[in-house]
């Protein structure tokens, strides 16, 4: 089990609080992947039925259909090449493949920032994924780091959206730049950038209205917002984060693709991971579009936004049987 030893080392360096939060939040995810553990220990033989069941478990976790097929094919090859017969031997190989997929080249940990000026972070996504809430949490995070933060209320469409951001602004004591409901969001962004320059803020976080990726006029609006920000601060936005609801299925791939085209998405935030969903689609998105997950949302509280970590993610997924292997590993 050298794989889990490695994992353990990687994780012991991290604070326990974060890990336990991750594990708590991912309890449901682990349940689904827990079945993998069962599959590996209960099955005596690697045969067609075994692969079929594994395929169903992965698809059941919303890992994209194409990615699952690829993964299964690779495992098949692996089994043939190494003449593996015991399912238990295959388990670390699968874990490692998943971690590798999620980590990619491993270069994009944390958020990009602008060393000499305002860092602009733009949030995009479909309706109801939790953009505004995530912005509130991220503002709080930056605030904790002693940064001077400003928010831009770019969702001028949905009823109550500006007020929602304002409530978050009050909670974390951060100013919100806004216009009337129904005004041009690009104009709001322009105002916000000017205000950010005048007030000498460190981080400007921009909210946008939720939009479905197949609405071409709304997507054009988004690329206009992007252009305006870019024109006012060269090199900005330094991060464009696509917020994904963890319950979303295959459509998340399409979202990542089309939002990527129109607003140059640089990373993902996976929300609502605290209980219901498996969020496996991020594996497919990482695999097919090479977009890294930067944060995960694990609840409704201010401090429920955590930096994504592939080790922890997979660790939490497999926590169920890491415990079996090494009981001391989990001391929450």
């Amino acid at each position: 089990m050298s794989f889990f030893k490695k994992l353990k080392e990687a994780i012991s360096a991290k604070t326990e609080a974060v890990t336990s939060k991750f594990i708590g939040g991912l309890a449901k995810t682990r349940d689904a992947f827990g079945k993998v553990g069962e599959l590996f220990t209960l099955r005596k033989k690697i045969d067609e039925a075994f692969f079929e069941e594994l395929e169903e478990i992965l698809i059941g976790a919303d890992v994209g259909v194409n990615t699952v097929m690829e993964l299964i094919d690779e495992l098949r090859d692996e089994v043939k090449k190494r003449k593996i017969e015991d399912p238990a031997e295959l388990q670390p190989i699968l874990s490692e493949k998943l971690t590798d997929m999620l980590r990619g080249n491993g270069e994009e940990a944390g958020l990009n920032s602008n060393p000499n000026g305002i860092t602009v972070i733009l949030f995009v996504g479909v309706n109801g994924v939790g953009k505004t809430t995530t912005i509130g949490k991220l503002a709080w995070r930056y605030k904790q780091q002693g940064k001077n933060v400003l928010l831009a209320a770019g969702d001028t469409f949905r009823a109550g959206a500006i007020e929602q951001l304002e409530v978050w602004g009050q909670r974390v004591s951060v100013d919100v730049i806004k216009q009337h409901s129904g005004s041009d969001p690009a104009a709001v962004m322009f105002d916000a950038v000017q205000a950010a320059k005048q007030r000498n803020v460190d981080v400007l976080i921009c909210d946008t209205a939720g939009r479905l990726q197949n609405k071409s006029n709304l997507m054009e609006e988004l690329s206009k917002i992007h252009r305006v920000i870019q024109r006012e601060i060269p090199g900005a936005p330094h991060e464009t984060l696509l917020v994904l609801d963890a319950t979303t299925g295959q459509n998340a791939l399409q979202q990542a693709k089309l939002f990527g085209e129109k607003s140059g998405v640089t990373g993902l935030v996976l929300t609502k991971l605290d209980g219901t969903a498996k969020g496996g689609i991020v594996i497919a998105i990482r695999n097919e579009l090479a977009l890294p997950v930067k944060f995960v949302g694990l609840g409704e509280k201010m401090d429920d936004l955590q930096e994504f970590d592939a080790d922890q993610f997979v660790h939490a997924l497999f926590a169920g049987f890491v415990q079996d292997e090494e009981p001391q590993d989990e001391s929450q």
Partner: protein
């Protein structure tokens, strides 16, 4: 690719059979693999898929397929029928209580679209001459009450609220009491989004349920939900005894397999589908159309229905006469454009057509609504005489038209050329029409309009 229709995939499978008259069990197995993938890619729950495939396979091995010359079509037909059946067969309406008010309780995860839906449902009830009251029961999400109030204001429906410091159970109770006292016939109770495993919040909505005894408990489900839809629906159903489901955000490009999963585990009918951001974009749910969509086969029925309600039959007849006699002017052209536009955004129309998904995924194929506006501007910048007789439009007139419409002379030239081509095509069309107006092979010409015989979309039926 994810959006390639099942039709074309099955045609690939059965294309190999050409020349061999018989369908073997292996062929059916291969076809079933494609059906399975199509359903999984559409986010139908894998357990539901498994049962479904077993059922369809049995029929597919039957006589009907064996005898058919077009086994792909027969199998699609079986799949389609079974899917429709599984989704509830016929369309179901909102409950109406014998003792008004009818109480409707919304439930669902965060961000499913409950508040927006509550507003839309009120609007729909309003157009059906009902008198609804909205109750703001989401006290947790910042500005959720405000959102409902804005929606209520837009459609002129009152919103009952006690602020965000009173328990939702109390708010719901008082809301229903108010509706009773003041003669409202529907009470729509918005609630906060909650995870089905959040015991505290689930207890709260159960308390609301027992306090107001709703006639209708609607689970609001995001159409983009993946495999998780089953767990969510099952858990909500066990705890709340749902009576119906509403699918939201169906105007996206998701295939919406969640619909099937939800129906399969709860047995509750899907009553409505939300198809846009505007407050009147809520439609009755049609299982048969959803079946086609999940399979990636388009939605011709909705398109035809849209055309029927939006296109003036008299005008269409007149237009047809003009087409036949080729006395087609720019006035008719504008009229026609207006009618097509009444059907809604072009992109949405194309989505409903079978095979268009494939066409749309082609990067060279782009619909530019602005281009249509430009074309309209050019036509409108013509004088009366020019509209009737485009032949008189010389260079100086072209320059004037271009200036008037804010386009270039080249744009004007292009439109004139297109107009001429259209007229020519119409002459051909009218040539193809028999004496009683029945087309003789008009479909072929239509197909050519989409870019040649081989490149064109394949119509499944």
């Amino acid at each position: 690719m994810a959006f390639e229709g099942l039709t074309s995939r099955l045609q690939n499978v059965f294309g190999k059979l050409k020349g061999r008259g018989k369908v073997s069990e292996d062929d059916v197995n291969e076809a079933m693999r494609e059906v399975r993938l199509a359903l999984l890619e559409a986010d139908v729950n894998f357990k539901v898929v498994k049962d479904f495939i077993a059922k369809v396979k049995e029929q597919a091995l039957g006589q009907e397929v064996q005898k058919s010359f077009t086994p792909a079509m027969v199998i699609i037909d079986i799949v389609n029928k079974e899917l429709t059946e599984l989704m509830g067969g016929t369309q179901e309406k909102l409950a109406k209580s014998n003792k008004p008010p009818t109480v409707v309780l919304m439930a669902g995860l965060q961000g499913a679209g409950k508040t927006t839906l509550t507003g839309k449902l009120a609007k729909l009830l309003l157009t059906q001459k009902n008198n609804p009251l909205l109750v703001a029961g989401d006290i947790y999400r910042p500005a959720a009450i405000k959102q409902l109030e804005v929606l209520g204001g837009q459609i002129g429906v009152p919103v009952f609220t006690l602020g965000d410091q009173v328990s939702p159970v109390e708010i719901a109770k008082q809301g229903v009491a108010k509706a009773k006292a003041e003669g409202y016939d529907y009470v729509l109770i918005d609630t906060a989004g909650r995870l089905q495993i959040d015991e505290e919040l689930m207890q709260e909505i159960k308390d609301i349920h027992s306090a107001v005894e709703p006639d209708e408990v609607l689970l609001v489900v995001d159409a983009m939900t993946g495999q998780e839809a089953v767990n969510v629906a099952k858990s909500f159903h066990e705890q709340l005894a749902l009576t119906g489901v509403v699918l939201t955000k169906l105007d996206g490009d998701t295939r919406g397999g969640a619909a099937l999963s939800v129906k399969a585990v709860t047995g509750c009918p899907i009553k409505f589908a939300s198809t846009g951001e505007k407050i009147d974009q809520l439609e009755a749910f049609h299982p048969d159309r959803m079946a086609s969509r999940i399979l990636g086969m388009g939605d011709m029925l909705s398109l035809i229905e849209k055309a029927q309600t939006n296109i003036d039959a008299e005008k269409a007849k007149e237009l047809e006469r003009k087409m036949r006699t080729a006395e087609f002017s720019f006035y008719d052209f504008l009229e026609q454009m207006e009618q097509v536009r009444n059907l809604g955004p072009l992109e949405q129309l194309l989505d409903m057509m079978p095979g268009m998904g494939k066409l749309k995924s082609n990067p060279n194929f782009k619909i530019d609504e602005k281009q249509i506006n430009r074309t309209e501007a050019i036509a409108k910048s013509m004088t009366h005489a020019e509209k009737l007789k485009p032949d008189i439009i010389n260079y100086s007139r072209r320059k004037r038209i271009a200036a008037g419409s804010g386009t270039t002379v080249a744009d004007v030239n292009r439109l004139l050329k297109q107009f001429e081509d259209m007229k020519k095509m119409m002459k051909q069309f009218s040539g193809m029409m028999g004496p009683n107006g029945k087309p003789k092979g008009g479909m072929g010409a239509l197909k050519n309009m989409f870019g040649g015989k081989n490149k064109g979309p394949r119509f499944p039926f």
